[in-house]
C-alpha cells in the first residue's frame, strides 16, 4: 500500500505513459495528467474489480482527453495520519465507519462510500460524503412498493445492479465487465465502478485535479450515466438517487420505483 500522498502532475515521458498503459496514439504522452484517487478497501474480490473497471473506463476517456486515473490503495489509519495530499477523491470500499471518519477528517475532498448501506452514514449529511450503494431504507421502500403491486414474493431483493439486467445498455456494461474480468458484475462491483466513472466524467470538465471542485461538481451536476436509464444525481444527504432492480436469484422481477418515476420515493431525501 502506498503511504505517500500523491501530487497530480503531468507525466513527461512516453516511456512512463506506456508503462501506465495510457492509450498510445490517442493523447500524446506529454499531455497526460495523472489523477490520483485513494482507495480504502480490499484489493481483491468484487468491489476491487469494480474499482479497477471503473478506472479502466475512465481511462478510455482519459486516452482521448489526456488524463489517467490512478487507483492508489491506502489504509484508513495511514490516510488519517498523513493526509489526502492532492488526490482527486477518496473511494471507500470497506467499512462504512471508515468513510465516516475520513469524510469528517478531510472536508475538502469528496469521499465515496461504495459498500455500506447503513442509513446512519447518510444522516450525517456531510457535504463531501457520497454513497453510490443504496441505503437500507431505499431497499426496504423498493421491496414494499413491489409487494404492494405484486403481493408477497419469496426471496426477492432490491439491488442497485444485477449481472442479468439488460436494459439501458446494462447488457453492454455487463458484457464489457465480464470480458475484462471474467466475472459477472454484481451490485458492489457496480457501485465501485460508478464512483470511478463519475470521477472520470468530472476530471475533463474540471480540467485539473481539483478536490473541492469535484465536490461542487457532484453536488451541482445535472446527472451522470451508469447504464440505469436515468440521470443519476445525489440527494442533499449524499445518497445516489437511483432506481433499484427487484430480483429473485437470476430473475429480474421489476424496476423500482413502481407506478411513479419519482426516484425520491425510495429512501429518505432530507437530512435528518
Amino acid at each position: 500500500m502506498r503511504s505517500i500522498p500523491w501530487i497530480g502532475r503531468t507525466l513527461a515521458t512516453a516511456g512512463t505513459a506506456a508503462l501506465l498503459g495510457v492509450g498510445i496514439g490517442l493523447a500524446s504522452a506529454e499531455d497526460v495528467t495523472e489523477v490520483p484517487v485513494w482507495w480504502v478497501g480490499p484489493t481483491e474480490g468484487s468491489v476491487w474489480r469494480g474499482a479497477e473497471f471503473g478506472a479502466h473506463d475512465a481511462n478510455i476517456v482519459g486516452g482521448f482527453q489526456g488524463f489517467k486515473v490512478e487507483v492508489v490503495p491506502v489504509g484508513t489509519e495511514t490516510l488519517l495520519d498523513e493526509g489526502v495530499g492532492d488526490a482527486m477523491a477518496v473511494v471507500v470500499g470497506g467499512d462504512g465507519a471508515d468513510a465516516d471518519r475520513i469524510s469528517e477528517a478531510f472536508p475538502g475532498i469528496a469521499v465515496f462510500n461504495v459498500s455500506s448501506d447503513d442509513d446512519a452514514l447518510r444522516s450525517t449529511c456531510r457535504r463531501n460524503l457520497f454513497s453510490t450503494m443504496p441505503s437500507e431504507t431505499m431497499r426496504s421502500d423498493a421491496l414494499s412498493q413491489y409487494r404492494d403491486k405484486h403481493g408477497e414474493a419469496d426471496g426477492i431483493e432490491a439491488l442497485a445492479h444485477h449481472p442479468e439486467f439488460r436494459r439501458y445498455s446494462s447488457s453492454d456494461l455487463n458484457g464489457r465487465f465480464s470480458s475484462y474480468h471474467g466475472e459477472p458484475m454484481d451490485e458492489i462491483a457496480w457501485t465501485a465502478f460508478a464512483a470511478f466513472k463519475l470521477i472520470g466524467d468530472a476530471y475533463p470538465r474540471l480540467g485539473q485535479v481539483d478536490p473541492e471542485g469535484m465536490i461542487d461538481y457532484v453536488r451541482e451536476m445535472r446527472g451522470f450515466d451508469a447504464s440505469k436509464g436515468a440521470q443519476l444525481t445525489f440527494r442533499d444527504n449524499g445518497q445516489l438517487r437511483q432506481p433499484l432492480w427487484i430480483t429473485a436469484g437470476d430473475e429480474i422481477k421489476g424496476e423500482a420505483p413502481f407506478d411513479t418515476d419519482d426516484l425520491d420515493s425510495l429512501g429518505p431525501v432530507e437530512c435528518r
Partner: protein
Amino acid sequence: MHSFTRMAGALTLAGALAAGQAAAGTPDDLTGRVFISNEWDATLTILDGDTHEEIKVLEVGERPRDMGFSPDGSELYVALGIPDQIAVVDPVEMEVIRKISGGIDPEAMSVHPESGHIYISNEVTEEVLEIDPSGDGEILDRLKTGIEPEGNVVTPDGNYILNVSESSHMLHVFTWPDHDRIENILVGTRPRELATTRDSKIAYVTSEVAGEIVKVDLEEFRIVGEGRFRGVRNPRPKDVRLNRDETELYVAMGRSDRIAVLDAQTLEVLDQIPVGERVWGLGVNRDRTILYTTDGDSNQVSIIDMEENEVIKQLQVGDSPWGVIRHDWHVDDEMAPR
C-alpha cells in the same frame, strides 16, 4: 476504391460523378419507398411512398438497425447486429442481394458520398469501421472511438466522419480520406445521434441522459449552443433531423413519446408532437416536408407533415422498429438529409 480524384474546394457531387464515377440514375429512378428496420423481427417493412401502404415485409437478417443508401441509390445497406453482417438490399426488386461483413455488432452507419464506403459503429470493439461494400465487405480501416460508439454521420461535403461515443460522452471528428482524429469534443451525458447542416458547417448532437442537444461549429470545432428541452417532460432525445430550410430541428424524445420541434438557432422548443411509445429513429423525404418516426414500443411508424406539425398517418409495422429511410434523395442533389 475511389474512381476519381478528389478535388479541392466546393466540388459538387454532380461534378464528381461527371468526372468519372459510374453513371448514376436520376431521381426519377428512385422508388420513393420507405424502408423501416424492425429490430426484433429480422425484417424490413417497405411502404409505398405515395400511399404509405405496406407493400412488402422483407426477411433481412437478425437485429436490423441503421440503414444507408449507396451514392447512386442502387443499394440499401442494413446493419445486422446478431450475425455481424450488413445486408445489401436491391430497393427496386426489394430483395437481399448479398450479405457482407459488418465487424462486430454493427449498429449506426453512414455512407461516404464520394467513396461509397460504409462507416459503421462497432460498440464492442469501440471503433468505427470503414467497409468497402463491394465484394464481401473488406474492412479497409478501423477508427478508434470512446466507449460504445453510436451515432455516425459523414458530413455532406465528405470531409469529415463524425461519431459520438455514448459512454465516453464525446463527439469524435475524423478527417477524410486520412482518418486522422482531430477532435474529441466533450458533450452531454450519453450522446446518441447527430445531424449536420447541408453546408457541413454545423452539427447538432443529442445527449439522451443529459436531456440536451448541443450545436457544434464544425469550422471552429466548439460548442456554440445548448438546448435543454424546457417544457418537455422527462426529455430523452435520440435521433434528430433538420427541416427543409434548416431553421427547425425535429428531435425524437424517446420515452417522452413525442417529437420536439426546436428553433435551430436558439434551440428553444417551438412545438411538441405526440407520437407512439419510445420514439427513436427518424427519416425524412427528399423535400424534408414529411417526417417518419419509429415508435419502438408501439411497433408503429408515425408520419408527420413537417409544415403543419401534425401526424397524418400511423401504421403498425414489425417488432421494435429502429430506423427509417426513404428512397427518394439522390447524391447529385444532396446527401441523405440528416
